[in-house]
Symmetry: C2
Subunit: 240 residues, 2 copies
């Protein structure tokens, strides 16, 4: 059996994350167990926005059955409402993300609270990356993922809302295709593809808030930023 | 070292695919080599739309520098134009996909030709799945992938345009979350996530037209259909 080009490992045993927790310490502990894949230079650690936000204290008080309060919270987290249907709002967040309900999330959180998006998910990723390097002596990349709906396609999929140590978008322009000609315009959003791949392992209810992706292309390693590379400025966007 | 939850293997050595080729035979040969991961029951084979379309003869004559002819071809492949900018058209295809230039593709194809989308990618996936079962005696799933742009986010990502033997969308409603409560609405588009994961291994120019994803959740196994499960009917869509 050959080695796979890409291997994805669940990070088990992180447990519930609470405001003020040291997320790097929790992850390092979980990754240090005998049954763990560990962390190696070049790995990509994909971690859910939810545990990042919980550790950073990005919780708002909210009774889950209080629809009016939820709408108010969504409005406070949004700079613009693109569409509304029932109590669903498709909004633009302060970060520039377009998603349902500004990312305000009531699942896997105690009633009485909602989880918000991290204030600056690229910064969260950079900090976690630096903390893991300090603790474990490894140079890994970090992707902060969240679950977004999409226009035109049913179902949600995980995307990157922050990254560090890995390109968000890889520009293949100037790379020859298999026929030896130069490709016109192929900018691949590898950060979103890493987040989607990770979600295949995370599931939604199994308490796996992070995965290790081993085998990512070394040429993707660089500082990286979702804010700078993925968010499409409104002037360039055909759908805002 | 534990086994990864998910492993992705490139299918090497398929070579150029031509109209009339037996794609299952080409893939079975490539998967039969001593350095190959082979195919096992429960694997998901992700194969690019391009090689499926080439095998099915979905090529149109087109000089790559003939912009007017390209626009004509895109129009012929579309039922509706959503947006236009320069010679870029965001259109709805006959299948109901919303994508750039109706999927008309000039990369990795000889000048003088364009590759179109398969007529019925779910059917293509079903046929390939049945052919592989007949040849190799394995029960695998097949996802036909293509590279689409997205609203609001820069960069392209691979999505599923056809599938067989795997759910396109997994409905987690009714599944308890990690706090033991029932999730409200989480329909995860695992077919798109599988396609995105596969693209991390395929690259764009390395001649890898298929990958094997090993470790997909067995509960996702069923007939599956991108057309029925992913394409959002216009009446339900907030962005058409």
């Amino acid at each position: 059996m050959p080695e796979p080009q890409l291997a994805i490992f669940a990070v088990q045993g992180v447990g519930e994350v609470r405001p003020g927790d040291d997320l790097a310490a929790l992850l390092a502990d979980a990754l240090g167990g005998p049954d763990s894949c560990g962390l190696r230079d070049g790995d990509v650690l994909v971690v859910t926005s939810k545990v990042v936000a919980k550790a950073e204290g990005r919780l708002a008080e909210l009774r889950h059955d209080d629809v009016a309060a939820k709408l108010e919270l969504v409005a406070a987290e949004s700079t613009r409402v693109l569409r509304a249907r029932g109590d669903l709002r498709i909004t633009e967040t302060r970060h520039g993300f377009v998603c349902a309900n500004a990312g305000v999330d009531l699942s896997n959180v105690d009633d009485g609270y909602a989880v918000l998006l991290p204030v600056d998910p690229d910064r969260s990723a950079r900090r976690l990356r630096a903390d893991l390097r300090r603790r474990l002596g490894v140079d890994v990349a970090v992707v902060v993922s969240d679950t977004f709906g999409r226009a035109w396609r049913r179902g949600v999929a995980d995307v990157a809302i922050g990254c560090a140590g890995v390109a968000a978008v890889v520009d293949l322009r100037g790379t020859p295709d298999a026929m030896g000609r130069v490709l016109e315009a192929t900018e691949v959003c590898v950060a979103d593809e890493l987040a989607s791949a990770a979600d295949l392992v995370m599931g939604k209810a199994t308490g796996v808030p992070a995965v290790v992706v081993r085998g990512a292309d070394p040429s993707w390693r660089r500082e990286g930023s979702v804010a700078d590379e993925i968010i499409r400025p409104p002037g360039e966007d055909l759908f805002r």
